[in-house]
């Protein structure tokens, strides 16, 4: 069983937006800066007016790796992890497991779409082929 993130005021929207099928990213309401990992304060202008907004849920693979090592006894391998430049949130990347395609088919520059996996009170973003 993989460990889960501790839900906090700054990150709960990110980890639970998937319950409504939405990838929620923190933005500064004053300067529009996209903030990830989410913070309670804008690292750019120090505003405390942080709002979570849904982004389109697509993005391009900046880089990836295929993990072959079972780090826990019940971990199925191999699987791909993609670091994705998000559409609609400049400068933000979301790193997640790639599902719905063979790990060896993942490539830099590929467009992927978010889908969610629910474990307890956490909705993990996962990446799947956009088409």
């Amino acid at each position: 069983m993989r460990p889960l993130p501790e839900l906090t005021p700054e990150n709960t929207a990110f980890w639970t937006g998937g319950a409504e099928g939405k990838l929620m990213i923190a933005f500064c309401a004053d300067c529009a800066h996209a903030i990830h990992p989410p913070q309670l304060i804008c690292p750019k202008c120090w505003s405390e007016a942080i709002e979570f907004k849904p982004v389109p849920g697509t993005g391009k693979v900046y880089t990836f790796t295929v993990n072959h090592q079972p780090w826990m006894p019940d971990m199925p391998v191999p699987f791909a992890l993609a670091v994705v430049d998000l559409d609609g949130a400049p400068g933000v990347r979301v790193t997640a497991e790639v599902v719905g395609m063979p790990p060896e088919a993942v490539a830099i520059g590929q467009t992927l779409r978010v889908t969610f996996a629910n474990i307890e009170d956490v909705w993990f973003p996962q990446w799947e082929p956009a088409q």
Binding site: R2, P3, L4, P5, E6, T8, N11, H36, P37, Y62, T63, F64, T65, V66, N67, H68, Q69, W71, M72, P73, M75, P78, F79, L81, V83, G91, V92, R93, T95, A96, E97, I108, V122, F124, P125
Partner: protein
């Protein structure tokens, strides 16, 4: 432009895999050897510092804090410090340098002790942050729960991007791994000393693409001690003082492994650039290097960070034979962590100091007088330049 601080002694325990020896026994052995190297006694030590301090969030990662070591070694100190959030595993050495330069202490015992080899089990892997815990916070809560559990994943996606942009291949990293193994064969204290061929390297199982088994360093049990002394106090020690010419600790990006805008660079680039601003020495003045090799890919990153070659040029720099045995800029001449074992950077610095003192039997770099050391990967980075006059 050097600091009023010098390294005066280093010591390493007999490191190994599954030694079953308690961390404190390793630590005491390393301390005894460092004091002997420096020509100091226990009572000369008036400061102690470590990275990260006692930590139980990863098996065997840091079984000893300054408190336990003070108690066990009977130290009376004027300065003590553990630095979990500093500029890399080098932070305690940088802190010690500042402590002696400001007169807070005269001789600081800096240590790193690990029992990752003896401590890990199938369910509690070494170097998996938060292993066994139900809920995680902090930067790794965005990675570990997302199944990016190991630093090999984080380094793997850095390498993948670097390969993509600059045409590096596994063979280039294989030259790092096989070159360091060749060095290790001349170092009796390295844990991996059997010859490693390029075929062995390429044939080994993949861990996290493009990184395979021999791209990853080796968890060990062991301890390493570095003694940092005030410049005037260093003159009375047994070895020629290794003056800390400059050090760098800058970090311009977030504490994460995936958000830095250009992942073909890392914290090392910020830290190293800051270091070079503090000295008149240049890369061409350097004789021997200790570069963090938790994963082989960090070596080309550090080479570029420290300006030994340009961005994207490390693959050619390595292929030209610059960093292996007989090269102009030999890197990790004791075998590094890939072949010597993971002492979290301390082992690399131990080797640089050994070279500068001319005591690296069988692998000595002729006339080595200036050494560069870079510790850390990803956002974790500290740089240091040492000079023997």
């Amino acid at each position: 432009m050097s600091l009023n601080a010098a390294i005066t002694g280093v010591g390493m325990s007999d490191i190994g895999r599954k030694t079953g020896r308690p961390a404190m026994i390793h630590l005491a052995e390393a301390a005894r050897r460092a004091l002997e190297c420096a020509g100091l006694t226990r009572d000369d030590i008036d400061g102690i510092s470590t990275y990260p301090g006692k930590a139980d969030n990863s098996p065997g990662m840091s079984p000893l804090g300054t408190g336990e070591v003070r108690n066990a070694l009977g130290l009376k100190t004027r300065w003590h410090s553990a630095v979990p959030d500093g500029p890399s595993q080098m932070a305690p050495i940088q802190v010690a340098a500042m402590a002696v330069a400001t007169g807070q202490a005269r001789h600081v015992l800096c240590f790193r002790a690990l029992t990752e080899s003896s401590s890990q089990t199938a369910t509690q892997r070494a170097s998996i942050p938060g292993a066994g815990r139900a809920r995680l916070g902090g930067w790794y809560s965005y990675l570990v729960p997302a199944k990016a559990m190991s630093a090999s994943n984080w380094a793997g996606w850095m390498a993948q991007r670097y390969f993509h942009e600059f045409g590096m291949t596994r063979e280039h990293l294989g030259l790092v791994a096989t070159g360091q193994r060749a060095f290790a064969q001349a170092n009796p204290s390295a844990v991996m000393r059997t010859p490693l061929t390029m075929d062995d390297y390429l044939g080994a199982r993949m861990i996290s693409s493009p990184l395979g088994l021999f791209d990853c360093d080796v968890p060990i049990d062991g301890a390493c001690v570095v003694i940092v002394s005030a410049a005037d106090a260093a003159m009375d020690c047994a070895q020629a003082p290794l003056t800390i010419e400059a050090m760098g600790a800058a970090l311009g990006s977030q504490e994460t492994w995936d958000q830095r805008p250009d992942l073909t660079t890392m914290g090392a680039h910020d830290s190293a650039a800051d270091m070079w601003k503090r000295t008149d020495l240049r890369p061409a003045d350097v004789d021997v290097l200790g570069l963090y090799d938790g994963f082989s890919i960090f070596v080309p990153y550090w080479l570029e960070a420290l300006s030994f070659c340009g961005h994207g040029e490390a693959k050619d720099f390595i292929a030209e034979g610059n960093i292996g045995p007989g090269g102009r800029f030999p890197v990790n001449t004791g075998g590094g962590q890939l072949s010597g074992g993971r002492l979290h950077g301390f082992g690399l610095l131990h080797e640089v100091c050994t070279q500068l003192w001319g005591r690296a039997d069988g692998r000595q770099v002729d006339g080595a007088k200036v050494g560069a050391c870079g510790m850390g990967g990803g956002f974790i980075a500290g740089s240091m330049l040492l000079r023997r006059d």
